[in-house]
């Protein structure tokens, strides 16, 4: 079996990060925005895994473990963020009966 080069994984992570960032800025549906946020966090996860692979190839075992551990931190944070974000969106839907963020426009300068 030929191992996947870590650069390929990095390219995938970069593409996902771009998709996520553009999605957050352009989509108007709260759930789609939320999905894009999760894609961004997971692109960072992939990047961490890829860099850990690179460091492991180069023989830095301890440094590789640090990156793999960071992935678990991000997974936990993403779960907490999902709880908070979805709760806020549900509260939003109860008040306005929509999850279109453009309808949230009382506060403006």
């Amino acid at each position: 079996m030929i191992p996947i080069p870590y650069t390929w994984v990095l390219i995938l992570a970069t593409v996902l990060f771009g998709i996520g960032a553009i999605g957050v800025l352009l989509r108007r549906n709260a759930i789609a925005i939320f999905l894009s946020l999760e894609i961004m966090l997971n692109s960072a996860n992939l990047a961490f895994a890829a860099f850990a692979l690179k460091l492991a190839y180069e023989g830095h075992g301890a440094a590789a473990a640090a990156g793999q551990l960071f992935v678990f931190f991000i997974i936990a944070v993403a779960a907490a963020e999902a709880a908070v974000g979805l709760a806020l969106f549900i509260a939003m839907f109860r008040l306005k009966e929509t999850i279109d963020v453009d309808r949230f426009n009382i506060l403006r300068w």
Binding site: A13, L37, A47, A50, A63, I74, V77, L95, V101
Partner: protein, 485 residues
């Protein structure tokens, strides 16, 4: 690692446990127990401050604990005590406000405590992993606090906007951290410093990582152009929450900013300094100009707090030891001035959202001379006029910038401070020169706890302004932390 390694971490463990206990107690006590719950939250914070003083102080030089995750140094102690003080004052100010609202106090108090734990970890983080987890603990607690009045559209809208932009910025931050980790091979701040110092030329991936981490940090301290969430979040949040998020999380974000940029990324200061220069100048110009046109006091204070972040950023641009301690001192002074100013907004909020427009302050001097004098002190302080502490804070930051050769930036800051006088004095003019009879101004609420906290803030603002020596000495003790001494 043995159990005794956790002893310096006891303050955070205690505070998190107290937060969980109060969360449970809140369920059984319900709406009746608001004062009990807030009181126990305040007691827990006071105990934590004592624990920080007993266990959390470094013996001798900076002391790395928990396998390099956290560091005990004077910088951490300084910021931790500021944050605990800010949380105590904000919690006490919330008591009456929450009692008048239909919402309970258990979740509120415990969220403030959890946010404080996160801020304490941010102040003492020595590794990008612990800093990131602390940041998220603080940020997620604060999103819920902003949306705490869940049946009010304004509060909910502010929370959704804050959450979306906050999560976007932490996504950018964490991606930046991954690039820094991948190119330098470590998450440890000292390791990053060594790796960067040993690099002859910065490669593009590490450079991009530093830029993305910088974006994340500028967002968290609300610097133009990453400030768009601030006015909305500050205006929509319940006023005691606004008071809290305008000081505690801002001080924590500055602590993290100092640690990452003046600690870890210091070898590349020449590369990122120019960006920070432009950001600081743009922030001071834009925020002070935008504040001029605001008629809502909370929104005006939001723009004012963006401007203050711009002034504090000057210390980071300077990048010297004096720049570092002047930012620390600035955060301490700003905490008391801003909490006091928001205390008055709480007291005037007697009719739903009244007390938020500048006209509500009309004739306050005639009806409540003491209150008007207190507000005058905070307005003078925020504008940076002696003998208040605000003047001392600005003086040291500006001096640090001049010393480092940034005369142009200092000129911009001084000019924009003069501009800020106009909007702070709009409130003063309303209080002293209008009689307010035709405008039906809002009436002050009698709430002796809020009054007591405002008195503490007035005393601190005047005391540090007249006699800054001890605070300056204390802030200066923090600089050894980053090896800048």
């Amino acid at each position: 690692m043995s159990l005794s390694d956790f002893i310096p971490f006891v303050p955070e463990i205690f505070l998190a446990a107290a937060g969980l206990g109060i969360l449970l107690a809140g369920i059984t006590l319900g709406k009746k127990g608001v004062r009990t719950l807030i009181g126990s939250g305040v007691a827990a914070l006071i105990v934590t401050a004592v624990l920080v003083w007993v266990f959390g102080r470094p013996q001798g030089g900076p002391q790395v604990i928990l396998g390099g995750m956290l560091v005990l140094d004077n910088l951490a102690v300084f910021f931790k005590l500021i944050m605990i003080a800010a949380s105590i004052i904000a919690l006490i100010m919330s008591a009456g406000f929450l009692e008048r609202s239909p919402y309970g106090g258990g979740e509120y108090t415990s969220l403030v405590l959890f946010a404080t734990v996160g801020m304490m970890v941010m102040a003492s983080g020595a590794n990008l992993a612990s800093l990131y987890v602390g940041l998220e603990l603080m940020a997620l607690s604060v999103y819920i606090l902003v949306g705490y009045f869940k049946l009010e559209v304004k509060s909910n809208e502010a929370a959704v906007k804050y959450f979306v932009l906050g999560a976007l910025s932490s996504g950018i931050l964490v991606y930046g951290i991954s690039l820094v980790y991948g190119t330098l091979g470590t998450l440890d701040l000292r390791g990053i410093h060594q790796a960067l110092a040993g690099m002859a030329k910065l490669n593009w991936a590490a450079g991009l990582g530093i830029v993305l981490v910088g974006f994340g940090m500028l967002f968290k301290v609300a610097i133009v152009p990453f400030h768009v969430w601030t006015p909305d979040a500050y205006e929509g949040a319940p006023t005691p929450v606004t008071a809290f998020i305008s000081v505690g999380p801002k001080a924590a974000a500055f602590a993290m900013f100092l640690r990452i940029f003046l600690g870890a990324f210091e070898p590349n200061i020449a590369a990122w300094r120019t960006v920070m220069w432009v950001a600081a100048a743009a922030t001071m110009i834009f925020a002070n100009t935008a504040a001029l046109t605001q008629n809502n006091v909370k929104r005006m204070l939001a723009y004012s707090s963006i401007a203050h972040a711009g002034y504090a950023l000057m210390g980071i641009v300077a990048g010297t030891a004096m720049g570092l301690w002047s930012v620390m001192l600035y955060m301490l002074i700003y905490t008391f001035m801003n909490l006091g100013a928001f205390g008055f907004v709480i007291l005037l909020e007697s009719r739903g959202y009244a007390g938020e427009t500048i006209q509500d302050y009309a004739g306050l001097a005639k009806r409540h001379p003491a209150a008007a004098a207190g507000m005058l002190v905070f307005m003078l302080g925020l504008a940076g006029i002696p003998p208040t502490a605000g003047f001392m804070g600005k003086l040291y930051v500006f001096a640090a910038a001049v010393q480092a050769g940034y005369v142009g930036l200092t000129v911009i800051a001084v000019v924009m401070s003069a501009v800020s006088l106009f909007y702070y004095f709009r409130i003063v003019v309303q209080m002293y020169l209008h009689d307010g009879e035709e405008d039906e101004p809002a009436e002050l609420i009698r709430d002796r706890w809020v009054e007591a906290m405002i008195f503490v803030c007035v005393a601190a603002t005047l005391f540090i302004g007249v006699y800054p020596g001890p605070m300056v000495g204390w802030a200066r003790a923090g600089i050894s932390a980053l090896g800048l001494g």
